[in-house]
Amino acid sequence: MLKVIAACGNGMGSSQIIKMKINKVFKKLGIDATIDHTSVGAATSMASNYDVVFVAQNFVGNFASAAEKGTKIVGLKNLLSEQEIEEKIIEAGLDK
């Protein structure tokens, strides 16, 4: 079971959209995952408890320390593009 967190500036808009979209793509790819969502502020301190963090591209830098500890950070440019999400899931090796 993959532990995933989706984060955005405030945890009420984009992070929920990311959560919906990645949930859809995980299901399509047959990947078993639990997905939480929160604000970037809260997520930075929790990130190392997760296998992977999904954020809008401009927040990737906020997660440098979690990345050092082995959490995968996936930055998305178009939050609505299931194609981009699928490509990045495969790129990060989450389907393995």
Partner: protein, 154 residues
Amino acid sequence: MILKDLVDKKLTIYEEGFDDWKEAIRANAIPLKKEGYIEDEYVDAVIACVEKHGPYIVIAPNIAMPHSTEGAPGVNKTGIGFMKVEKPVHFDPEDPEKDARLFFMLASENPEEHLNNLTQLADVLSNDDLVNDLLDAKNDEDVLAVAEKYATEE
């Protein structure tokens, strides 16, 4: 159909263009304020949010979703305000992918209702053909026509 709801609730506005993204956000907020969903305090918070975090509210090409936090001060009711702008609004002068013409301002006072709205909105905006049609919309009639055209796909 969420687009029809926004028209029915009088939460739509159509504009030519803005030199400054802050003006665009203030214009997006006008119908929500008029219908009692939000106060100026919330609009200020939304602008402060973009200043703090950058233009991440442009969630996809052409689509901006200005918002602050759930249950933020100045939010009275849960709803989404729609604005269509003819000329792209620039959020990042260096990055044309952060230009927006479709604005959906989120206000949430009830998490459950908000999530329901947001789920519907994400579905609608994931349809590229629908988004292209919406980019051509100039008034409520056009938006209702788009809503009608894609209503069966929900």
